[in-house]
């Protein structure tokens, strides 16, 4: 046997190796322990220990406040994000394919992407009133612009030879959009959706906190008003779970739609 390979094998054997899929779990464990410790040692009223928060969460689930509001929130999220996906892709494809549409809309899209979306809350409130409509509209403002920009960029980066290839087979503009541009731009579109979905969750909570009639955001606002830190953090845990689940769903769809991409090209 080659001495150098046996030496390096021995060296590798002495190292403690943690399987990489265990790292997130370990990291989470450290975070949980730290939260619990700090909460106990450092006795401030607005940072209760994790165990207190979890106890409060169980309490909130038991009296039904979480589930009822969670389903209201998820309905808002699904409507707002659904509208954002459809509108974002349609507008993005139009901007990517038609230069005049791009020149006309570009400035607005970038302005609205950078603008703090929450300033739209009072505007929607005055238009749609005290209800779902305002929250859904706010979610759209949070999520749609990044989807538009990514879609338009994805469309513009489609290799020209694929489009010309389709043209040589006499493809119509619509056929080219559907059969060449959309699938070719799909990795970029899905990247936009991944960012869009977490922005949509943010919009949902901000909207619900501001308008405070339905949803998890209302629970947060009410608990905050009572200085009930444990409830605020308990709902925060639920919101994080919602965000995580929503992006997991987008990621699963992404993997299915872009399974043709080589593994190294994944963002």
């Amino acid at each position: 046997m080659n001495p150098s390979t046996s030496a390096s094998a021995a060296k590798l054997g002495t190292r403690v190796r943690v399987p990489s899929r265990l790292v997130p779990a370990l990291s989470l464990l450290v975070g949980v322990a730290t939260w619990e410790l700090i909460g106990r040692i450092w006795d401030v009223s607005f940072f209760p220990a994790l165990s207190e928060v979890v106890a409060q969460l169980v309490e909130l689930i038991r009296d039904g406040r979480i589930l009822g509001n969670l389903s209201a929130s998820l309905t808002n999220l699904a409507s707002g994000f659904g509208i954002s996906v459809v509108a974002g892709i349609v507008i993005g494809v139009a901007m990517g394919m038609i230069p005049i549409v791009n020149s006309a809309l570009d400035v607005y899209v970038y302005a609205l992407l950078t603008a703090p979306s929450l300033v739209f809350a009072p505007i929607f409130f005055s238009i749609f009133g005290l209800g779902r409509g305002s929250i859904v509209a706010l979610i759209v403002v949070y999520a749609v612009f990044i989807i538009i920009i990514n879609t338009a960029d994805g469309v513009r980066s489609v290799p020209i030879e694929l489009i010309e290839m389709a043209q040589t087979y006499n493809a119509s503009r619509f056929q080219i959009a559907r059969r060449v541009i959309l699938p070719a731009a799909m990795p970029m579109i899905m990247a936009g959706l991944r960012i869009g979905v977490s922005r949509a969750v943010k919009g949902m909570i901000n909207g619900e906190m501001f308008i405070a009639v339905v949803g998890l955001g209302r629970v947060v606002t009410e608990a905050g008003g009572r200085f009930d830190a444990a409830s605020v953090l308990a709902v925060l845990l639920v919101i994080i779970a919602v965000a995580w689940a929503a992006s997991a769903v987008v990621q699963i769809i992404d993997r299915r739609l872009t399974s043709w991409l080589p593994e190294v090209n994944r963002g």
Binding site: L162, Q167, T168, Y169, A171, V180, M186
Partner: protein, 264 residues
């Protein structure tokens, strides 16, 4: 029959100056003829092909296919690209049926046609592979099958084997000849390789550098079939002589050539 009459195509380059890519070019290609086009880089040979394909508009002149003026891409022509231009998300089968699908052919017709061609181009058992899992030579077989699937009367090939290594290139040349000898369609084949131009073509067209014009058209005195090199083994000398003659001709147009002696 392809008739190119007085074709002139101008570009505006980055500095805003007008460049003539092709100037007053005439070329006639007979039905079922295999014409290869040679020329220095940037001589407008690809422009010529793109004009025939209907992908590029031109400034003056006309192009007729069987007497009908070219106004854009058409069902009578299909193109094979140097970069293969395959859809990376679609299987070999779906790439090959792409043109037929756009024309609304039903699934059975499409797949029958595709399976026939998959056999003809040597892709059997790869029909469910994605292009990314295939070698360059295999990818270009897909490109060729896709073009043949729509049964064009004119096949336009833009340096189709230019991105392949020598051995793969030779293999594909032989397969192209075998397929063409069985189907006999009109082929316009752009290439950088003098030998390739001679082995494949009935006639070799040499173009001048910008602006592209026809410099010379040479008949290839080799019989058919030629798919198997043994079939023209006796004419090896002819191939070598013709290659040398064409090279002498092309060399005069090489911008960095001193050997030609015709340019200072």
């Amino acid at each position: 029959m392809i008739e190119v009459k007085g074709l002139t195509k101008k570009f505006i380059d980055k500095n805003g100056t007008t460049v003539e890519a092709v100037a007053d070019l005439d070329l006639t290609v007979q039905d079922n003829e295999f014409v290869t086009v040679l020329g220095p880089s940037g001589c407008g040979k690809t422009t010529l092909l793109r004009c025939i394909a209907g992908l590029t508009r031109w400034d003056q002149g006309e192009i007729l296919i069987d007497g009908n003026p070219v106004r854009g891409p058409g069902l009578d022509r299909a193109m094979v690209f140097q970069s293969f231009a395959l859809l990376p998300w679609a299987t070999v089968l779906r790439n090959i049926t792409f043109g037929l699908e756009l024309r609304g052919a039903d699934r059975e017709t499409r797949e029958d046609k595709a399976m026939e061609l998959i056999g003809a181009v040597g892709l059997a058992d790869f029909e469910h592979n994605l292009p990314g899992t295939l070698s360059g030579g295999m990818q270009q077989r897909v490109g060729l099958a896709r073009a043949l699937a729509v049964e064009p009367s004119v096949l336009l090939m833009d340096e189709p084997f230019g991105a392949l290594d020598e051995q793969t290139r030779r293999l594909l040349q032989e397969e192209l000849l075998r397929i063409w000898e069985a189907r006999r369609i009109t082929v316009v084949f752009i290439t950088h390789s003098i030998e390739e131009a001679v082995i494949l073509g009935d006639r070799v067209v040499v173009m001048t550098p910008r602006p592209g014009r026809i410099d010379d058209i040479t008949n290839v005195p080799l019989g058919r079939p030629r798919a198997n090199p043994a079939e023209y083994a006796a004419a090896t000398r002819t191939v070598a002589e013709l290659t040398a003659t064409l090279w002498e001709r092309l060399k005069q147009h090489q911008p960095d050539s001193r050997a030609g002696g015709t340019r200072s």
